[in-house]
Every structure is written in structure tokens, then in C-alpha cells.
Amino acid sequence: MKTLKELEEIRQRTLEEVNLRKDRKGTRVVVGMATCGISAGARPVLLAFVEEVKKRNLQHVTVTQTGCIGVCRLEPIVEVYMPGQEKVTYVNMTPEKVQRVVAEHLVNGQIVKEFTIGAVEKKD
């Protein structure tokens, strides 16, 4: 059973790490959460990012949401903002694709070109 005591322990254990990372410049992962995004599967994509980031302990990454990104038919859409890089827009995302984006882009800085809006629009 999850107890409040456990929550108190998380606080004590985690607080030091949080203070350490405050000054570092971070990467932002933003998931589109308009009605179209949600019905296309934005929630599992969002939670897959959170899960991967937690598993790999990527302290510099924050995952968050936005409303409409503007291209319903390509939802779920994810934008990645990395310091020193242009914004990268990934489209038609799935939890499986998230694994690659985290491993290749967030960890190694290599954009997964085939999932980007540019690559997908060219194919259509």
C-alpha cells in the first residue's frame, strides 16, 4: 500500500537532487493536449516520456503540455526544446516512438529525423 510516510521519504531522498539541478539549463518536452491530441493518444505519449525520463534519471528534462499545436491530423504532436538547438516537432507519436526519441535525442542529442514533421509531410 502507498502510504503518506512513503511520500515523506521521497521528499527527504529527492530534495538534494532537486537543489543540485536548479542551475542547469534544461530540455523541455511539450505534448499537445487539445481534444484532437487527447483522442489521438497524447496521454500515453506524455506518460511514456515521464516513465523513460524517470528510468534513465534524466534530471535536466521536464515534460509538460500545451493546447493546440495546429495540425490535428498529425497528432499526437510533441515539441522538443533543447538548449542550443532549434525546436524539433515530432508527429504521429506513440509510446514506442518515445523510447527512440528519449534514447537518441534527449540522451545523445541526435534528432530522430524520420519522426519529425518535415519528414512526415514530405512522404504524404
Binding site: 500500500m1 502507498k2 503518506l4 512513503e6 511520500l7 515523506e8 521521497i10 521528499r11 531522498r13 529527492t14 530534495l15 532537486v18 505534448v31 493536449m33 487539445a34 481534444t35 484532437c36 487527447i38 483522442s39 496521454r43 500515453p44 506524455l46 506518460l47 515521464v50 525520463v53 524517470k54 521536464t62 515534460v63 509538460t64 503540455q65 493546447g67 493546440c68
Partner: protein, 183 residues
């Protein structure tokens, strides 16, 4: 939308867009009365009469600008298909209450789905907003109040991944308890 938890996630996006900082989600299941009520209360900017009318009218919303209003008409259609309805009460500058009622055992009622994923997604992406989620059945009641969580975690952000994982399991276990394991 495949399930109620996704409808709810979408519905609460409206409260977020309305700049609420306290959002209360209250679900009541009554097997005996065969009734389900889902209420979202927010303290956001509210709507005037005209906006309320536009918001629930599926013809108005779908036939003018493409962007206006899919969320409410979709949820309303789901409720009506299950012998219920969606109602809006709102006061400009004070907040909004959306209530969805429907027949619990209606054959078309979508399943709840992963409520814990919806709540956790909301908290994760909106750390500055407080959420209260209460869920009542004939067997008991579960409540999660982020203000209570914040008291315990102190200066640790509520969207910290460990805290989020804890909340997710806490909700799952709480719901299992008031459902005897079935949703």
C-alpha cells in the same frame, strides 16, 4: 474518446485554459440508483450566457469555425447516448461547474479507463494548479487533494517524477479499494 478518463482529461483542459488555480473533480457512482455523476468545478474566468449556449450546441460549435468546441459537445453526446446529459453553470469572474450525469449500467457507457493516468497527467503539467479528486461508490470514497500532498512534500515540486509515481499508485490502489477491484 475511448473512455471517461479521456473525456475528463479533455474537459479539465477547459478549466486550465480558463486560468483556474483550483479544480475539483467529483465522481459519484450509485449502483442501486444505476446512476453516475461527474462534476468538474473550477475557479477560472467563467462564461457568460451566450458562451454557455454556444458551448453546448453541437451544431453551432461544429459548423462555424472548425476550432470552436469539440470537447463539450463530444462529452454531451456520450452522456445523452447513455440516458443522461451535460449541464453547465457558470459565473463570469467566479468559475464554472460542468456536471455530466448518465446511467451507470447503460450498455453504451464508456469504461472509466485509467483515471490515475488522467489525474497524474494533469498534475504533472500544471504544477501551479491544485486538484481535488474525489470518487465515491456504494463501497466507499477515495479523495486525493494536492494541497494535502504539498503539505507533506514541502519544497519538493509536486511534478517531481517520484511524487508523480507515488500519486499514480495511490490513486490506483484507492480506486481498487472502493471498487472491489473492478472498474
Amino acid at each position: 474518446m475511448q473512455d471517461l478518463s479521456l473525456h475528463l482529461l479533455d474537459l479539465v483542459q477547459n478549466s486550465i485554459a480558463a486560468e483556474a488555480n483550483l479544480i475539483e473533480i467529483s465522481i459519484e457512482e450509485d449502483e442501486k440508483k444505476d446512476w453516475l455523476s461527474i462534476v468538474v468545478d473550477d475557479n477560472g474566468k467563467g462564461m457568460d450566457e451566450e458562451t454557455i449556449e454556444k458551448a453546448v450546441d453541437p451544431f453551432y460549435t461544429t459548423r462555424t469555425t472548425r476550432k470552436v468546441g469539440l470537447g463539450l459537445p463530444l462529452f454531451r453526446a456520450t452522456a445523452q447516448r447513455c440516458g443522461g446529459d451535460l449541464r453547465i453553470q457558470s459565473i463570469v469572474g467566479r468559475g464554472t461547474r460542468i456536471q455530466i450525469e448518465l446511467q451507470l449500467k447503460h450498455i453504451d457507457r464508456p469504461p472509466f479507463g485509467r483515471m490515475e493516468d488522467t489525474i497524474v497527467s494533469l498534475i504533472l503539467c500544471n504544477a501551479e494548479i491544485d486538484f481535488v479528486y474525489s470518487h465515491k461508490t456504494n463501497y466507499g470514497e477515495f479523495i486525493l487533494d494536492t494541497r494535502e500532498v504539498r503539505k507533506i512534500i514541502g519544497e519538493l515540486p509536486i511534478n517531481n517524477t517520484e511524487v508523480i509515481a507515488w500519486i499514480q499508485s495511490y490513486i490506483r490502489e484507492g480506486l481498487n479499494e472502493i471498487n472491489g477491484g473492478v472498474l
